[in-house]
C-alpha cells in the first residue's frame, strides 16, 4: 500500500517538474523578447511550482522513512547513503513490476531535473546579461540627465 503511495508521489512530483520545465522555457522567451509583464507572471507561476515541488519532496522523504521502517531498515535521516540502502532493500521486498515502475519514474525525474537545470542555466546567463545591460543603461541615463534624479527643482 505504501509502495503505491510512493509511486503516486513520484508521479505527482514528475508532473510538477514537467510544469517547472514549461514555466522556465516560457520565462526564457519572456527574457529574450523583453516582455516584462510576461516575466512577472511567469515568476509568480514559478514560485507556485517551486512550492509544490518542495511540499511533494517533503512528502516523498516521509514516505521513504515509512517504507524503510516497514522493510526493517532503521533510517533516521534520508541522505545519499541511506537512500541507496533504501532502494536496495525496496528492490528485494517488491515485485518486479512495482520496482520497475518506481525505477522508471526515478529515471524520468532525473531527466526532467537535468532539463530544468539546463534551462535554468541559460536563464541565469540571460538574466545576468540583462542585469549588466540595465547597469549600463542606468549609467547612460544618469549621464544624459546630468541632474539629480530625485531633486528636480529647476
Amino acid at each position: 500500500m505504501n509502495k503505491v503511495k510512493l509511486i503516486k508521489i513520484l508521479e505527482e512530483q514528475k508532473r510538477n517538474l514537467v510544469e517547472l520545465v514549461e514555466v522556465s522555457s516560457r520565462k526564457q522567451k519572456a527574457i529574450v523578447v523583453n516582455n516584462r509583464l510576461a516575466l512577472e507572471e511567469l515568476n509568480h507561476k514559478e514560485e507556485i511550482v517551486l512550492n509544490k515541488l518542495e511540499r511533494k519532496e517533503v512528502e516523498r522523504i516521509n514516505q521513504i522513512l515509512i517504507l524503510s521502517n516497514e522493510t526493517g531498515l532503521d533510517i533516521q535521516e534520508v541522505n545519499v547513503k541511506t537512500i541507496k540502502d533504501f532502494y536496495r532493500v525496496l528492490r528485494a521486498n517488491s515485485s518486479t513490476e512495482v520496482y520497475e515502475q518506481i525505477e522508471s519514474l526515478r529515471d524520468e525525474t532525473k531527466k526532467l531535473i537535468t532539463e530544468a537545470g539546463m534551462i535554468n542555466k541559460q536563464n541565469n546567463l540571460l538574466v545576468n546579461q540583462a542585469g549588466s545591460l540595465i547597469k549600463q543603461m542606468v549609467s547612460v541615463l544618469f549621464k544624459s540627465q546630468n541632474k539629480p534624479l530625485l531633486d528636480r527643482k529647476a
Binding site: 516584462r36 512577472e40 515541488l53 537512500i83 537545470g117 546567463l125 538574466v127 545591460l133 544624459s144
Partner: protein, 452 residues
C-alpha cells in the same frame, strides 16, 4: 548542451543587448531633437536546435531597429499643416492689405471722401467764396493722394507677394532635390537588413517643411522611397527631382513644372495663399476701388460740366476730374490753378450754388450696386476685414488640430528619459526576482537529484 554552446548563446545575446543599449543611448542623445523619431530594437529568439531528446533554445537575435511612429498621424499632420499654413499666410497678407486702408481713421478714404462731399455742401451755401473753392480742391487732392497711395501700396504688396512666391518656389526646388538625395541614400540600404532610421527622419522633416509650403501627396514604396506630387504633378521620387518655376499665366500667379507648361492646381500651403492674394484678392480689391472712383468721377463731372464757372468769362462744360485710371485720380489742372473755374452755378448767375449742392448730394444717392459710394467702400473694407478674420479663425482651428497631432506624434515618437528610466527599473526588479527564483530552483533540483 555543451558549455561551448552556452558561451556562444551568451556571446550572441550580449552583442544583441549591447546593440539595444546603443539604440537607447541614441534615443537619449536625440531627446531634444524635434525631428527625431524614437527607435526601438526588435528582438526575437534564435531558431532552436533539435537534438534526439530535446529542443534547445539558441539565444536571442536583433531583427531590426524600428522607428516608433504612427503613419496615420503623420499623414494627418501633413494635410493639416498645408491647411494651417495656407490660412495663416493668407490672414497675414490680408492683415497687411487691411492696414493700408487705414480704416476707420481720419486718414482713411471713407473720411476723405466725406470731407470732399461736405466741402461741396459748404460751397453751395457760399458759392462765391474762393477759400471754400480752395477747400474743395484741397479735399479732392487729399482724396486723390490717398487713393493713389492705397493703389501703390496694393501694387507693392502684389510685387512683394510675387517675389516671396518666387523665393518659396526656389525653396520647394531645393527641398525636392534634397528629398531626392535622401531617397537615393535610403535606397542604398535596400540590401541591408536594418533600415536607415536617421535618414528617414531627416527626409520626413523635409517633407513636413514642404507640406507647409504647398499641397503635396506622399506615397512610400516597399523600399521606403518617398514619392511626392504637387497638385497632382510628379515632384520627386528616388530617381528624379522635378523643378518648378513661378509664372504669371492669364494674370494668375502659379507654379509650372519644368517639363509641363500647364499650371499646377494649388490648394494648400503658403504658395496657395500667395497665389490667391496676388491673383484674386488684390485684383478684386483694386477693381472695387476703381468702380467707386470711376463712378465718383462720372457723377461729379456730369454735374460739374453742366454748371457755370465764377470767372469773368463764365464758362461751362468744364470737367472737375480729368480722369481716373490705374488708381490715379487727376483733378483738372486748370481748376487747381484757378479755383473760380469750379462750376457751381446752374444758370451762370453769381451766388448760385445749385450744382455744388447737387454734387454734395451724390454722397446720399445709391449710384453703384444699389448703394451709395461710401456704402460701397464700407462693404469693400468690411469684406477685406471679414476675409482676414475668417482666415485667422481657420488658421487658429487648424493650429489646434496641428498642435494636437504634434502632441500625439510626440507621445508616440518622442523620447522620454523618465519613461526609459522607469521602464528600466521595472525590468531590473523582474530580473532580480528571476535570478532569486533560479537560485532557489537550482538548490531544490540539486537536492531532489541527490536523493532521488
Amino acid at each position: 548542451m555543451g558549455i561551448s554552446r552556452v558561451f556562444d548563446i551568451s556571446r550572441r545575446s550580449l552583442a544583441t543587448y549591447q546593440k539595444a543599449i546603443d539604440i537607447s543611448s541614441h534615443n537619449i542623445a536625440n531627446a531634444s531633437n524635434p525631428n527625431y523619431t524614437r527607435q526601438r530594437a526588435r528582438i526575437s529568439t534564435e531558431i532552436p536546435e533539435k537534438t534526439a531528446q530535446f529542443i534547445w533554445g539558441t539565444g536571442v537575435k536583433l531583427d531590426n531597429i524600428d522607428r516608433v511612429k504612427d503613419g496615420l498621424i503623420e499623414a494627418q499632420l501633413i494635410n493639416n499643416s498645408q491647411s494651417y499654413s495656407r490660412h495663416n499666410k493668407e490672414s497675414i497678407l490680408l492683415g497687411q492689405v487691411e492696414q493700408l486702408f487705414s480704416e476707420p481713421s481720419n486718414l482713411g478714404i471713407s473720411n476723405l471722401l466725406t470731407n470732399f462731399m461736405n466741402s461741396w455742401n459748404e460751397l453751395s451755401v457760399t458759392p462765391n467764396s474762393v477759400s471754400l473753392r480752395n477747400n474743395v480742391i484741397f479735399n479732392a487732392q487729399n482724396l486723390a493722394d490717398k487713393v493713389k497711395n492705397v493703389n501703390t501700396d496694393l501694387g507693392t504688396i502684389k510685387y512683394d507677394v510675387f517675389h516671396e512666391f518666387k523665393e518659396q518656389t526656389d525653396r520647394v526646388n531645393t527641398l525636392l532635390s534634397e528629398i531626392n538625395e535622401f531617397n537615393k541614400q535610403i535606397f542604398s540600404f535596400k540590401a541591408s537588413t536594418s533600415s536607415p532610421n536617421d535618414l528617414l527622419d531627416e527626409r520626413d522633416a523635409l517633407i513636413n517643411e514642404l507640406s507647409g509650403m504647398v499641397n503635396i501627396k506622399v506615397n512610400y514604396d516597399q523600399n521606403n522611397m518617398a514619392s511626392v506630387s504637387i497638385g497632382g504633378v510628379f515632384a520627386v521620387d528616388g530617381s528624379f527631382a522635378n523643378t518648378f518655376e513661378a509664372q504669371v499665366v492669364n494674370n494668375k500667379l502659379t507654379l509650372v513644372s519644368a517639363n509641363n507648361p500647364n499650371p499646377i492646381d494649388l490648394s494648400g500651403g503658403e504658395l496657395y495663399s500667395l497665389s490667391d492674394v496676388y491673383s484674386n484678392k488684390i485684383s478684386e480689391y483694386q477693381s472695387g476701388i476703381d468702380s467707386i472712383f470711376n463712378k465718383l468721377v462720372e457723377k461729379v463731372n456730369a454735374l460739374h460740366e453742366s454748371g457755370y464757372s465764377l470767372n469773368d468769362s463764365t464758362q461751362t462744360g468744364i470737367k472737375f476730374f480729368t480722369s481716373y485710371s490705374g488708381g490715379e485720380l487727376e483733378i483738372n489742372s486748370s481748376i487747381i490753378s484757378d479755383p473760380t473755374l469750379i462750376s457751381v452755378s446752374s444758370d451762370g448767375t453769381s451766388g448760385n450754388g445749385e450744382i455744388a449742392r447737387q454734387i454734395s448730394e451724390i454722397s446720399n444717392e445709391s449710384v453703384l450696386n444699389g448703394q451709395t459710394l461710401l456704402e460701397n467702400y464700407a462693404s469693400l473694407v468690411s469684406k477685406i476685414g471679414n476675409e482676414k478674420l475668417t482666415n485667422e479663425k481657420l488658421a487658429e482651428a487648424n493650429k489646434m488640430v496641428v498642435d494636437n497631432l504634434e502632441m500625439q506624434k510626440a507621445s508616440i515618437s518622442s523620447v522620454s528619459i523618465d519613461e526609459e528610466m522607469t521602464e528600466i527599473i521595472k525590468f531590473q526588479r523582474s530580473f532580480d526576482a528571476s535570478a532569486k527564483l533560479i537560485q532557489i530552483a537550482n538548490n531544490m533540483l540539486e537536492q531532489i537529484m541527490g536523493l532521488i
